[in-house]
């Protein structure tokens, strides 16, 4: 299927396959990352090698994700396996595979249009809303199939909280915004709702600022407050995973700092998957980083390793700002 998709992009696939080999050990293009022994990569390798990745991508050929050895054996809440996605006939994700470790912050980085947001939105199946989207591959949330037949999307989304690029509080009171996930479940008990509001807003670091004006319209909050409210709303339903889609891109540095602190506080309670443009943010806030390029996952490893000691030259170029 992947090869089919690629062939649409590049009709001269046969010669490419042999040319792909810019890496030290030539591998067949169809090889899958999990088939490859992780031990291939020396753990403390100094000086990134050329992955030939960009060249492979530009030719539309599949390659393996460079997964750091330390990623093995983690307890993963979300497992993504060979996930592909098409917008109409254009393929946006090419056999992505990764596991998101429980209770940790995992960041997706990469240049614009590399598919990191798309991948994130696949986790709670927000891409279902776009009629032209087709997918292939598996995703699991705590072992439950996300894309399996008979999955109730609504129940799935209740287990996953999501925060978007632009703060999107609903046009109602702060209180109603927070309890929205409970309201749609038909919960009316004022005592429980009050409790949830306080807990969620404390969790989102907003309680002290708004506790006296919970009935005010949420649209009157500042941008940073709105985004924290959205985080409060996302955690009100006690989700297993929190998806953050560039949560700070519309905020000023101070509000951004607040959100980053918040991410650190939420870590542990929740598994967080965050998309970010900002390399410093990824470095500061995340435990693991996956670098994506044109719909393909290039390298995935612990944040410090990936930034300070990347295995691939392409990753190094990107994180040091020489490219992208």
């Amino acid at each position: 299927m992947i090869e089919d998709g690629d062939m649409q992009d590049d009709s001269t696939q046969a010669p490419v396959e042999s040319e792909l080999v810019a890496s030290p050990e030539p591998r067949p293009a169809a090889a899958r990352s999990e088939e490859r022994p992780l031990a291939d990569l020396p753990a403390g390798q100094h000086g990134a090698r050329m992955g030939g990745v960009f060249e492979a991508v530009s030719r539309g050929v599949a390659f393996d994700t460079e997964v750091h050895a330390t990623m093995a054996g983690k307890d993963c809440v979300i497992e993504i396996e060979q996930f592909n996605l098409w917008y109409g006939t254009a393929q946006a994700l090419h056999s992505n595979s990764m596991g998101v470790p429980a209770g940790q912050v995992t960041a997706l980085i990469g240049p614009s249009g590399c598919g990191k947001s798309t991948l994130l939105r696949c986790v709670n199946r927000m891409n279902d809303l776009i009629p032209t989207v087709t997918t292939k591959g598996d995703m699991r949330l705590s072992g439950d199939d996300i894309y399996g037949p008979g999955v109730d999307v609504i129940e799935l989304r209740k287990r996953i909280g999501m925060v978007f690029q632009k703060p999107n509080p609903f046009p109602m009171s702060i209180y109603e915004n927070v309890v929205y996930p409970l309201r749609i479940d038909g919960l009316r008990d004022k005592r429980i709702l009050d409790e949830v509001v306080e807990k969620s807003l404390r969790g989102a670091g907003l309680w002290e600022e708004v506790k006296d004006r919970l009935e005010d319209n949420a649209l009157r909050l500042s941008g940073g407050q709105q985004q924290r409210l959205c985080i409060g709303r996302a955690i009100a339903g006690e989700p297993e995973v929190l998806l953050l889609d560039e949560p700070c891109s519309a905020l000023d540095p101070i509000a951004t700092g607040r959100i980053e602190d918040l991410i650190q506080e939420l870590k542990g309670h929740y598994t967080i998957l965050i998309v970010t443009h900002n390399m410093q943010q990824a470095q500061r806030a995340s435990d693991y980083v996956a670098f994506m390029y044109l719909g393909r996952m290039v390298e995935y490893g612990p944040t410090q390793d990936l930034f300070l000691n990347p295995h691939l030259k392409e990753t190094e170029d990107y994180v040091t700002g020489r490219f992208g």
Partner: protein
């Protein structure tokens, strides 16, 4: 970077080379001029309606005019215009007056001023209530002190001077001042008594009539159920006959009481002399309002002006809609418009929701959208014809066949009715609401929907809790447009229930308060009827303006309410107020 901005700045400072078009100056003028033209036209229209509509009820002074031919007339001036008299006009004058008239006109560069006087005093033998007079006809003018304007309940206004006050055949006063004093003393009591009699007749006799009809229908339904000549039918006929007999006596008694009251009220009358010397008696009960026009102070004039407006707003029309008020038409317009709004808004919103939120966007949906938009271009009379055929005859007729068979051939639902008119107008304004709602729905940012879905909301929950509230101001815009369009439509409702004169109001105190099967009066139709169907066009003309003013006012009022609601919704859902 700095260099380029530098040269740019330099260029900016020397404008000489850029053309007028490039700078867009001419477009400012063009757009501004377009706006000015539209505003001028709108203000012109509103201005005419406002000025002419608001002066209709101002009590005018009465002028008495002596004409060169010896006639004299008295009345209110309604129109003044300049014209060029033809030669033969002078031929109609008496020989001795021709020369003076010619001289007057030629001294005025061949032009003459023509006055239209409302001279009133119509009667079964005298139909014309207006007289046209040119300046060369007039010999002298006076303002008689005791000239009195009387508004009669029949035959319109009467102008004259009081000469006596009569109680029965007896003269109680014989000079104007005393007669006027007596008139003011007795007028209220007499009219009150008269109205009491009318009320008694309506309530009691009307109640008896309703009872009679009920009994008749009961007998008729027994006949339909068991067949003619069946024992049950014979029984029912017997009961009905007994009822008829018992009712007869009650009827006679009531009639006598009513007659007595009428006679008592009707014995007062005012003897009046018109400008041409004829004496006429006017019963006090026939007078709705009278005032000594040339003796009025400014405050009194304002009092009469307000009283006339009040009557116009609250009373039922008389005299082929030329006198009295338009209350039934106001009520009909408001009820019709509100009922239409109630029908069209939910329908339009649901339709737009399906089109925008549920339907798969494609050729079919585009075709539906085009069809809906085209519906807005269908001539409104076509909607009227459709409403008559489909709502009145097909649906209403079927309802009659099934549920109201005993009252056939008199239709209950199968005729023009306010419910059918509302439905027809709802259909007419549906495109407006659908288009506006669709716009509003598409303006709801997707991030809102996504936020809701991400919380685990279903599609309907998202629509109900997030999308619809956000789109409400836009829906209200559609509603405002629908009200403005629907309230002013005349052509379609003419066919499906608007009446020149509706005896019963569509909403009244009788259970069930809203009577959907009744015909109704409507201000728009009233304007058409008074303006173009009246046999007294000159008297109707000012009323057309006044009624138009009122209709515009009502539409404005309804819109204002909607705009206020919309502003509140906007504050709540868009600006976070």
């Amino acid at each position: 970077m700095a260099d380029t901005t530098g040269t740019k700045m330099k260029r900016r400072l020397t404008k000489r080379k850029s053309s007028l078009f490039a700078r867009g100056e001419s477009m400012v003028w063009l757009t501004g001029a377009a706006l000015v033209v539209s505003i001028a036209m709108i203000l012109g229209l509103l201005g005419i309606v406002l000025v002419r509509g608001s002066k209709t009820f101002w009590p005018q002074e009465l002028k008495s005019i002596q004409l060169v031919d010896g006639r004299s007339l008295m009345g209110e001036l309604t129109r003044t215009e300049e014209y060029k008299p033809e030669r033969h006009v002078f031929e109609s004058l008496r020989e001795g007056d021709r020369e003076a008239a010619r001289k007057l006109v030629s001294g005025n560069r061949g032009r003459s001023t023509r006055y239209l006087w409302r001279t009133g005093n119509r009667s079964p033998t005298r139909r014309e209530g207006f007289t046209e007079v040119s300046d060369f006809h007039i010999k002298s003018e006076t303002f008689p002190e005791w000239a009195v304007t009387i508004e009669r309940s029949e035959w319109g206004r009467f102008y004259g001077e009081p000469v006596a006050f009569l109680i029965g055949d007896e003269k109680a006063a014989t000079d104007p001042a005393a007669a006027w004093a007596l008139f003011e003393k007795h007028h209220d009591d007499a009219t009150e008594l008269w109205e009491e009699a009318a009320q008694l007749e309506e309530d009691e006799v009307g109640g008896l009539d309703a009872l009679f009809e009920e009994q008749r229908l009961r007998a008729k339904s027994v006949e339909l159920e068991h067949g003619k000549d069946s024992p049950q039918h014979a029984n029912a006929l017997e009961t009905f006959a007994a009822f008829e007999a018992s009712q007869g006596a009650e009827r006679t008694r009531l009639r006598a009481v009513i007659e007595k009251m009428r006679a008592e009220a009707g014995m007062y009358s005012l003897a009046m002399r018109t400008s041409d010397g004829v004496e006429e008696q006017v019963r006090l009960v026939d007078i709705t309002r009278a005032y000594a026009a040339n003796r009025l102070g400014f405050t009194q004039k304002i009092g009469i002006y307000i009283a006339r407006w009040w009557e116009f707003l609250t009373a039922a029309p008389r005299e082929a809609n030329l006198e009295g008020g338009v209350w039934p038409a106001i009520l009909g317009t408001i009820v019709l418009t509100m009922f239409m709004t109630l029908l069209v808004v939910p329908f339009g919103v649901l339709g737009a929701l399906y089109l925008r939120e549920y339907a798969k966007q494609g050729t079919l949906v585009s075709l539906v959208r085009i069809a809906v938009n085209n519906l807005a271009g269908v001539p409104s009379i076509v909607f009227g014809i459709f409403g008559l055929g489909f709502f009145c005859y097909a649906i209403g007729g079927s309802i009659d066949q099934v549920f109201f068979q005993e009252s056939l051939p008199n239709p209950t639902f199968g005729k023009g009715a306010i419910i059918w008119a509302s439905l027809t107008l709802a259909l007419l304004t549906l495109p407006v609401v659908i288009v506006a709602t669709e716009e509003a729905l598409s303006a709801v940012p997707n991030s809102m929907r996504e936020g809701s879905y991400a919380c685990g909301a279903s599609k309907w929950q998202t629509i109900r809790r997030i999308v619809l509230p956000r789109a409400m101001p836009g829906v209200m815009t559609g509603m405002i447009l629908a009200i403005a369009r629907g309230a002013g439509e005349v052509a379609p409702i003419m066919l499906v229930g608007a009446a020149k004169m509706a005896p019963d109001l569509p909403v009244d105190a009788a259970f069930p308060f809203f009577h959907p099967t009744r015909g109704f009066m409507h201000l728009g139709f009233h304007i058409y009827d008074v303006g173009f169907q009246s046999n007294n066009a000159k008297a109707a003309e000012p009323l057309v303006f006044t009624t138009t003013l009122l209709l515009i006012g009502i539409v404005l009022l309804l819109n204002l309410v909607a705009i206020l609601i919309r502003a509140r919704l906007r504050r709540a859902y868009l600006e976070g107020g």
